[in-house]
């Protein structure tokens, strides 16, 4: 009977981790629905980017207030999780603070955890105040109602509760308090419980311990359903982020093939395919749905934590247009999730649901409002590129549907006919010389 808590703990751990792994597999499968893209180049630069941008938070701190508090929560998250290791061992083997035997270092570590815990608690409260009292505008845009809003608050409440439980757990741990080493913060909380009977204090300690670790497991599994996935995906996302100058848009290879064929005077457009050449289905140009995007773009979508820095820098959004780069990312993720669920429901195969990313999620009006200025790309603290998705969708509209706004069609006709976006004769190109 003594082993009951250990068994319960092991079961909780297995269920918690098992469900998490299951969802992560689903996540990876969904990301792999995207088109292939070669990102195997320049590994050293990629590691460096990950170290600087994700690990080093270099772009977060460009906005100093949000940046500072985010660094606190981030460091707290990583460091305090070392304590989870001890909790897991204690839970599985019925020990109590198994590492406490290592002496002063233990006190030092727990001391650091406690300081971080209180700092994280403060930071999370600051975040809540920014969101709910100060109402920083980017948290109150159109796309931030319902689930996105609740999701953000859930995360803050989760963190508040977990940090409080950690401190209460330490404060009510009589033997730990007697050690008088490492209880930097909890020694001030312990007196709150001093009038209670010993058994009650012990019960509170056990409850806090259990709710804390179960809370962590629940939070871990909440990630997949939440924008909070960024705590994991920021790392691969910054690794796979573009290394090219921001102004460089990719040249579509399928188009290059056709253009080269058109330019080749010896090419026979009616030639039968060469022996052994597979008659490929012509590639679809651009993107109308998530499967047309590449997998890095889909990873981008899952990584987005809806901070809205992109949208707050977007010239179109700043001047009241519908376009919001954050919404582009959220729509891509939501559609990808919908496609994933469709695949789950149809035994591993996607069944046409009559919907797509274009029009059902992202409107043409949004796409045509973009100035391609790269402000959103520059603003993103985790190397997400909303612009590349906008461009792919414009490509679909223009090359598959001929659905550009009329003025742009006129501009393109001019380029085609006379090599300039305006209707001037190419032969007049040097007339300025004599004017």
């Amino acid at each position: 009977m003594n082993y009951l808590p250990n068994i319960l703990f092991a079961v909780a751990l297995i269920i918690g981790l098992g469900y998490f792994i299951r969802n992560i597999k689903k996540l990876i499968r969904n990301i792999k629905l995207g088109q292939d893209i070669d990102v195997s180049d320049n590994k050293s630069q990629r590691w460096k980017n990950m170290a600087m941008i994700a690990l080093g938070q270099s772009k977060m701190v460009r906005r100093p207030i949000a940046g500072l508090f985010h660094v606190i929560v981030y460091v707290g998250f990583i460091v305090i999780n070392i304590e989870v290791l001890e909790i897991i061992i204690d839970g599985l083997f019925g020990t109590h603070r198994i590492f406490s035997g290592i002496g002063t270092i233990y006190g030092l570590l727990i001391g650091i955890f406690e300081v971080l815990a209180i700092l994280v608690l403060i930071a999370v409260i600051v975040f809540w105040i920014r969101r709910m009292i100060i109402r920083v505008p980017r948290f109150w845009s159109k796309e931030m109602t319902k689930w996105p809003k609740n999701d953000a608050l859930n995360i803050l409440y989760f963190e508040m509760v977990l940090m409080s439980l950690f401190l209460i757990m330490n404060a009510t741990d009589v033997s730990f308090q007697e050690m008088a080493s490492g209880n930097i913060i909890s020694q001030y909380i312990a007196p709150w419980f001093s009038n209670l009977p010993e058994t009650t204090v012990h019960l509170i300690e056990r409850t806090a311990w259990w709710v804390h670790i179960l809370g962590i497991l629940v939070f871990l599994n909440y990630l997949y359903f939440s924008k909070h996935l960024h705590i994991l995906l920021a790392f691969p996302n910054t690794y796979y982020g573009s290394l090219k100058p921001k102004g460089e848009f990719n040249n579509l290879e399928a188009v290059t093939k056709e253009v080269m064929l058109m330019m080749d005077p010896n090419a026979d457009p009616f030639a039968a395919p060469a022996e052994g050449e597979v008659d490929e289905e012509p590639a679809k140009f651009g993107a109308s749905d998530v499967q047309d995007l590449n997998w890095v773009q889909l990873l981008n979508a899952y990584t987005c934590t809806e901070c809205g820095r992109c949208t707050s820098e977007c010239p179109a959004n700043l001047t009241g247009k519908k376009l919001s780069p954050r919404k582009i990312m959220m729509d891509t993720r939501d559609r990808l999730e919908e496609v994933g669920k469709n695949i789950d429901a149809n035994k591993g195969e996607f069944k046409d649901d009559g919907k797509q990313l274009l029009d059902d999620y992202i409107s043409r009006e949004e796409l045509w409002a973009c100035t391609s200025c790269n402000a959103c790309v520059e603003a993103c603290p985790v190397s997400i590129n909303p612009l590349s998705i906008i461009l792919e969708m414009r490509r679909y509209l223009v090359m598959e549907q001929s659905a550009a706004p009329n003025e742009l069609n006129m501009m393109m006709t001019n380029i085609e006919n006379n090599g300039a976006p305006w209707p001037y004769n190419q032969m007049d190109r040097l007339n300025w010389k004599n004017e």
Partner: protein, 263 residues
């Protein structure tokens, strides 16, 4: 005036069996837009002054394809690119300078994978290099002590991380360089990029060029310096809407330098 400036074409160089030091890619705006033509001429005067052996393609130049590409018409872009690359490679062009950040970005970044490999410079970078080599001197002249703010073109700044060359040139004019609240990597777009130049904006509460003009007017400049013919148009329009055209001039950096020396 026209006899004062020399503008040889690549065809002329070829006929003489010579190679110019650099090809000046004029661009569509620089060739056809009345306002931008003045920038073109100012830059040519500076090239003449510095004794740079340059050439233009003239009637052999064609749109780089930038607005087509950014509209989503990859076909048209690549047709333009491949055609231009054929011309450029036939003339064995090694180095290109352009006063248009859109041409600059496209030639520099998007032509190489299609077979066009050149050293491409924005005219502010090129002027800076002439200055550094002692081939060009810049004097403040009438701009000495003037309050000048620089509007970063997206395709020069964020797109290609060129922030300093234009600013160093302005400082050489002994002018007072003042920065807008959004500058350098946080610079706000003028509203023309991504082919917006050629269409009406989507419905909103304000035009982007007005927003940017307001940011510029906040720092009370006498001159808004630009480095892009499209930004120039957008900011000039913004200044007109704000009825400030008598107080604030929008000028390209090449014009500032040329005018300072009464070229």
């Amino acid at each position: 005036m026209s006899e004062a400036i020399k503008i040889p074409t690549m065809a002329q160089f070829m006929a003489e069996g010579k190679q110019p030091e650099v090809l000046f890619w004029v661009g569509c705006a620089g060739s056809f837009d009345d306002r931008a033509k003045k920038i073109t001429k100012a830059f040519v005067k500076l090239l003449n002054k510095a004794n740079v052996e340059f050439a233009v393609l003239g009637t052999e130049e064609s749109c780089t394809g930038d607005p087509a590409k950014r509209s989503g018409n990859e076909f048209l872009f690549q047709m333009q690119a491949v055609t231009n690359i054929e011309v450029l490679n036939a003339y064995e062009i090694k180095k290109i300078v352009t006063a248009c950040p859109h041409c600059f970005n496209t030639l520099k970044n998007e032509y190489p994978s299609l077979g066009g490999n050149y050293e491409v410079m924005h005219h502010t970078q090129f002027l800076k290099s002439l200055l550094d080599d002692g081939r060009l001197t810049i004097a403040g002249g009438k701009f000495k002590g003037k309050r000048i703010t620089f509007h970063d073109p997206c395709y020069l700044g964020r797109a290609n991380n060129v922030y300093e060359a234009p600013r160093e040139l302005i400082q050489k004019l002994e002018a007072e360089l003042v920065e807008m609240k959004n500058c350098k990597r946080n610079g706000l777009c003028c509203g023309a990029g991504g082919a917006q130049m050629f269409k009406e904006p989507e419905k909103g509460s304000k035009d982007i060029n007005i927003e940017r003009t307001e940011q510029a007017l906040e720092v009370k400049p006498e001159i808004i310096a630009a480095g892009c013919p499209f930004c120039n148009t957008m900011m000039t329009d913004g200044i007109k809407v704000k009825e400030k055209e008598n107080d604030v001039a929008v000028m390209d950096i090449a014009e500032l330098i040329a005018n300072a020396q009464d070229l």
